[in-house]
Amino acid sequence: MAKKLIRSVFDFEEGFIETIAEVPEKEPEAWAPERAMRVAGKGHPRVDGYARASGDARYAIDIQLPRMAYGRVLRSRIPHGRIRKIDTSEAEKVPGVLGIMTYANAPKIRWYRNSYLFDPHLRYEGDEVAFVVAETEGALEEALHKIRVDVEELPFVLDAEEAMRPTAPKLYKSGNIRDGKPRVYQRGDIQKGFAEADVVVEDAFKTQVVHHAPLEPHVCVVNWEGDRLTIWESTQATFRVQQGIASILKVPLNKVRVINAFMGAGFGSKLGIEKHTVMAALMARQIGRPVKVVTPRKDEFLSMGNRPASVQKLKVGAKKDGTLTAISLWSVGPGGAYRSGSAYLGTPVREMYKCANVRTEEYTVYVNAGPARAMRAPGHVQGFFALDSILDELAEKIGMDPLDFRIRNIAEIDQVRKRPYTSKRLKEAYEAGARAIGWYKRRNKVPGSGKGPLKRGLGMASQIWGGGGGPPAFATVEVNRDGTVVVHSGSQDIGTGTRTIVAQVAAEELGLDLDRVSVVIGDTALCPYGPTSGGSVTAASLTPAVQAAAVEARERLKDYAAVILGVDPEQVSYKPGRYYLTSDPSKSVSFEEAARKMGNNMVVTTGARGPNPKGYTINSFGAQFAEVEVDVETGRVRVLKIVAAHDIGRAINPLTVRSQFEGGIIMGMGYALTEERWLDPQVGRQVNPNLHEYRVPTLAETPEIEVIIVSEADTKANTVGGKGIGEPCIIPTAAAIANAVYNAIGVRVKELPITPDRVLRALGKA
């Protein structure tokens, strides 16, 4: 396949990455919305479902190698201090201990831009102090307990607003505000905008720190064979891990292999290279044995990331007819102790609703607590809670239905980049969702007017997200002599069903049944490059590359079909699964018959993702509608039903799309009602670093969920027509629930999670 180089801008999480990408000279023909789809676009059980349901699937935590040793990080028990001395002598004597690494003997590898692999300045409970490797996990635990750390304790700060003050304890010489200043954005004239408004509302909102809490913790198994390194890692980013390790350890890329065939989820916590993987690689090379690191569940909470808390102060203004004239946002959130994820959250304000005058001022602040990591739609989940809450307040003050208010303020174009969207079916989403939940008929005209003590209410919120993906992304297709196919695809399947949609796209193009296509994914040695599974970019990046590889494969097989038909290849046409004489379609051969003609030849092709369309923004859109029941005597909120209506381009597998939405919605419900990190302010330590007291949703809280996809293939975005969904699903849920609670009880809870005590306090009962 002929290719060329372009400069590609790739929307990833809260930023844009500019990169040089190789794309096909000629892209495959796009699959139009009207195309009759046979395999892709249909619901299919996962092709790896049997592996997961039978216990066959091997996750990184399941990898067992001969002579494998175990490693674990010793973590700081205090929130802020400086190590004076570490004494590992007693620990070294524990039978079975093979090595201990600390800042005293480890290479000084840069980390977080302003720190190191081991930094004697400890900045949070969970900070890395030492790394121990031992023959057994028992010996490991004994040794960890015997390491003596002499620490000078320092005053600590946990709260972001407090940390901004010049008198707060400093984590860095340059101060606690990241970059020393906020991120500021303006468009239009904010003063003029408020002056033009008929109604202005100002309010403040707070959200809590929540954790990703994937069921499989962070795990790696590292094995050297001579100078070649193999790493099994539970990661969303096999290529990033490969590149990171190669760069840090100064090993050439051809000698580093990262494998991740199955992983127990990540939600954003596994997007990069981990310190413990570097430590394990260093030790494994030293002792000449594989090293396995399994992060204990407590350390998952302390050190493996979180969605930061937020304080958001919003001011919004609109005309009597509901037209927004101005939105102003000031926010601050704790990014944690190091430069990791951020607390920025202004994209909903800047992009969701049509408004000419907008100003956002956002701070990320260092505090002595676990570093943030991008968590499923970073910024957006927090941002929409505040924004959609205050817009409901504004709509009420104007006397307008909150849904009608949103419909009035639909933005036709991307107001930040000042260009059109490839597709936008937000209005259809609003209307479909409203119909499904019975919005106009069932919503309380007077909030809180139900009889009680169980009061019901409806609320809604909106969604916008990137997820258009882009090049570079590659796939290879091998056609076997029996007409079956193996696809090697970059990226990894983090539980989203990537393996399955890759198979579906290849099967669709080649006219094959799904089980005639196998997929190899999640192995840097066996697969060409594919993007990190984050930002909801995977499906939109990979599937067009798979399609392109499949198209080239069927073109190459045309030569064999032509031989069977006894003509030149130019006289042969193709429709999925069949080659026929253009002049006489009754003369045809199947894809399989053409393949059989290959004998011992094998057709191997590579496909590349085509470029994103210039001058367009690729976004997904949607809305969620919540019905809740609040017990005004206990304060308990129950979510009865969520209707989710979204524009996500083509649903490549409606079955796994539904699963993804249900999953994101329930996680959003946990964010709204029960999940929260508790830090003891006296000692600066986490009170609930476990799955019992950190309350993730259980089966018992499952609400009724209806998912409506209002879109069809978006072929302007890419040739397969899908947009990403992993994050859109969670974005509006908490905001919709909060608005529903207001509609149910007539008072607004402006702080998450909406726990019973907060409801009772809002009702004046506590």
Partner: protein
């Protein structure tokens, strides 16, 4: 970097341990304190030399190499380690291997007939009752325990029977659909 390699595992332990279970009279003990435990897993008896502190899940995963049973928290809070203990769903991370001697342990692998999946496994795949799949073996075994005691449970009974298994991907709606489909067929 300090490297040590003594390779020794513990020293001789003097005390003997008695373990409940049919046929377990005198405990056999090795010089380094390990005891001989007869574990019956998926119908097969395995004689394993284990440190007494070894949990059932560690014995299953690290000694029998049956890695279908997972460890999510190691504290009895998530259910990833669920196995059947005489037909009852239990957290195998909260049971010592020595306690399990003489009992029938069933892991997810035990539900297969050769390579043929059991109806529950089939239903989980058909209804997409999984995403990352890490909790799936535990979910299926919890469902199995429930259905063997109560073949036609109501939704509330399914919820009560399976709430001890967390799914962070929240495949709950599909899990309910899958279990209900098997329950209906009886």
């Amino acid at each position: 970097m300090k490297g040590l390699g003594t390779g020794l595992v513990g020293t001789a332990v003097a005390t003997k341990i008695t373990v409940a279970g049919p046929g377990a009279e005198e405990k056999q003990e090795s010089a380094d304190g390990r005891v001989l435990v007869a574990l019956k897993v998926n119908g097969e008896v395995h004689n394993l030399w284990l440190e007494p502190r070894t949990t059932l899940v560690e014995a299953i995963r690290d000694h029998l190499h049956l890695t279908g049973t997972k460890i999510g928290c190691n504290r009895g809070e998530c259910g990833s380690c669920t196995v059947l203990f005489d037909g009852k769903a239990v957290y195998s991370c909260q049971i010592l291997a020595v306690e399990a001697a003489g009992h029938e342990i069933t892991t997810i692998e035990g539900l297969l007939n050769g390579e043929e999946p059991d109806p529950l496994q089939r239903a989980f795949v058909e209804h997409d009752a999984m995403q990352c799949g890490f909790c799936t073996p535990g979910q299926i075994l919890a469902a199995k325990a429930l259905l063997s005691k109560n073949p036609h449970p109501t939704r509330e009974e399914i919820v009560r029977g399976m709430s001890g298994n967390l799914c962070r991907c929240a495949a709950y709606p599909s899990i309910l659909r899958a279990v209900e489909s098997v329950a209906k067929k009886g």
